[in-house]
Structure formats: structure tokens, C-alpha cells
Subunit: 253 residues, 2 copies
Amino acid sequence: MSSEDRNTAPTAAILVIGNEILSGRTQDSSVAWIAGRLVEHGVRLREARVVPDIETEIVAAAQALSARYDYLFTTGGIGPTHDDITTDCIAKAFGVPVVVDPDAAQRLEDRYGPGNLSDARLRMARIPQGATLIENPVSAAPGFRIGNVFVMAGVPAVMRAMLDNILPTLRGGAKLLQRTVVCQVPESVLAEPLGAIQARHPDIDIGSYPWFRQGESGVSLVAQGTDARSLDTVAAEIAQMVRDLGGEPVAEA
Amino acid sequence: MSSEDRNTAPTAAILVIGNEILSGRTQDSSVAWIAGRLVEHGVRLREARVVPDIETEIVAAAQALSARYDYLFTTGGIGPTHDDITTDCIAKAFGVPVVVDPDAAQRLEDRYGPGNLSDARLRMARIPQGATLIENPVSAAPGFRIGNVFVMAGVPAVMRAMLDNILPTLRGGAKLLQRTVVCQVPESVLAEPLGAIQARHPDIDIGSYPWFRQGESGVSLVAQGTDARSLDTVAAEIAQMVRDLGGEPVAEA
């Protein structure tokens, strides 16, 4: 990426808290989802981590990632059960106590009915002192923001709804655009001329992603950058390179 | 998990090297796949990270993760194009030079035909000095092992084939077993009795995973541990708890 982009676009990391991902029981889908939304918003996702439901691991990762990037998004571990320890861990990471938020308690009572706020339900109204709530239109129990950390649910539908509420509050940078050219020229044949195109355009990131499907193989060549005209130039050069190598370039959206 | 398990089962991390994951263009599937295979083999996956194709990031993550866990598996960045920098980064992480491996060069020449080893193809025969090859039955270009780090391709079919060759060489621990009970009792209702079951069985990890699908909602309660009898006891207690709360427990494989 260009140094200009590196200086101006905000950066982000994702911290997925979940034994179920590390045991292979569940395929994570939140990284791909959040990544796609951040791209639209001009925020550069620089790292994603999955850690287990262990306090020291969550605290250390939250501190490291929130110190290093402009924004940190976490998913998972904010429900009512014993294995939901994210709120306490994030409070520890910021060195603040956990408090019951009256607004959050009200939202939960509105949902469960007056007098139905059991200890377990009230647990979902606990947030680190100084945090602000993130609305949860799906199941009432809110997420929260503290400093540059956004704490969201792990359930995809809830996480997505929370993210919709977060995105308008973020500082966005120049949107990262991309052009994709697909071809069936082997990577080892196009490597050299592709490298030459990359060398001529240091402000554009060119990635080469081979694929195999249904007995066929090919390569997706993806150019990313913030300037649409430069990207069009690079995409045209890539397409011409493919034709020069005897292939048929196909532009993909 | 029990302290006994923590002491005896080898631990592992996964490092996914790929801008395409962080840009949201590609949904990672390698973490879930490797996680599932490691569980079968008795290796505990403790962390997964996704980093971009930037040398300093890859070197730092490889050093941190290989120092901390018994095994580190990397995917991505070992092809012939300019953005394939994993080999050089892993060599840097270990402080050794990169060399052309004669066996790897031979395998590539066998595939591409005598005299057809272009510079780009020969690039895939480069490995850190002291590394050993990991066979690639799909597309010839090998992965490699150096120290406790296993460097694999990013293309899923190739990664999976490489992993099949790696697994028999790993030290395995007691296999992590699990029992799953699904029910439609709200999490906030079962939280307290479930916490009591967890407190009675510190050697078993009990996770609670709410889900919403096709207008229905429920919770998967997952118990993990290495002792089948203890797990059966815990699963029976969870099922009884669900019945006591007026729900219908369904055991899942």
C-alpha cells in the first residue's frame, strides 16, 4: 500500500473469543463479515486473532491489539453463562471495575418483563466502568465500547446488527478499491511479468491467488488501492499480460 | 481444561498469511479444517492469527507463536509470485539463509519437464537452510518444516494434502472428546444451573453456544475433556438440568 494510505486510513484488528472455533466445532464467519464491512468503510483490517475463553489470553490480546491499531473489534463471550468472561477481561485490560449499567438493565427488563431480571439476565447488563452501550436490536443484551475497543456478541446475526450500529461512528479513510482479473495461465508462467507490473506501481497491492475447482485450475489476480484510475491502468496491464501469455483474461467485479 | 491435560497434550497455533482474508475477499477455511484434524490427533489448538503479506508482521508473529506453542502451522505465501514471501520470512524468523533444495528442484522438474525450471518455478524450491520438505501430492511445490514450524500452501486442497503428511509425525496427546446437548431453554434460564455443573466438574470444559435459525432459537451445550466416563456423567447432568427446566434435551454427535 502507499505510504499516504498508511498514514491516513484508520487501522483495525479483530479478536474472536471462542473455544468453539479452536476446537473446529464452528467455522468462524465473523472475520470475513467484519472485514468486508470495514473495507467498504475505508478502515484497514490489519490482523485477526482467535483466542480461547481463558482470562489471561483475552486480556493480553486485547491490550496488545488495542494499543497497536486504531480500532479493535471483539466477538463472543458476552452472554449470561459461566463461560462468558469477555466483559470482565476487557475491564481488566483497561484497569477499571465492572458495573451494572442502568440503561442496559432497563433494556433487558423491557424484554423479559418487569420483575424478571434474574441474576443471569442482569449479568448481561454488566459493562466496564466508562464504557458506552452498543444497541442489540436482535436480543436486547447490548455490546459496549470502551476506548477504541468494540465488544460484540459472537452469534452472527447479533454481531452483524451491532456492527451496523458501530460503523457510522468510526472515522473512515479512503475506500480500498479492487480490480480482479481471472485467468488460466499457470502462476509460475505469469509470476515474472506480474512482478514487473507490481514494481512499476508501488501504490497498488497486487495479489495472486491460485484456485482449483471442478477439475479446472486458474489464478485470480487482485489489485487493490485507493485510486480508481491507477487501478484501471494496472488491471489493463494485467489483462494485456495475460493475453501476451496466450491466456484469456476475465474481469471480475 | 484439567491441569493434567495442560501438562501433557502438545499445544499449537495457526498463522494464516493472507491479505485476501483481511480484505474480506476470501473466507478462511483452513483454521476450521486444521483445528478439526488437530483435535482428532490430540493436539490442542490454542491460537489462530491472520496477518497481512508484510515481512515484519509475518516474522514477528512466527517468532512469537513458535516460541509459545509446541507446534506452529502456517498457510499461504509459498507460491512463485512476488507476493509469496513466507519462505523468506520464516528463514528470517529463524536467522538462517534461504537455499535452493535439490530434492524440491527435482520434484518441480519432474512435474514441469526437463529444462522447464524457470526462475519462477525454481523459486518454489527455495527453503530455509536446515528445513525439511513436506510433500505436495497436488501440485508438486513442497511445503517445509523448520524447528516446530510447518509451512503449508494456502490453497485448501494443497494445504489439506500437506497436513495429511504432517499429522503422523506429530506427538499426539490424549484425544479431546466432546458431548453436545442441544435444547431450546433460553441461556439466561439455564445459566445458573449450568454454572453449578461446571463448578462440580473442573476437569471438563462446558461451553454454551446460542443459535438462531429459521425463526427458532436454542442453545448447544458442549462438554469437552479427555475422560469419556466423566463426559458421559456431565452430559447426563446437563440433560437432566434441561428436563428440570421444562426443556427437551437432544444429544448430538
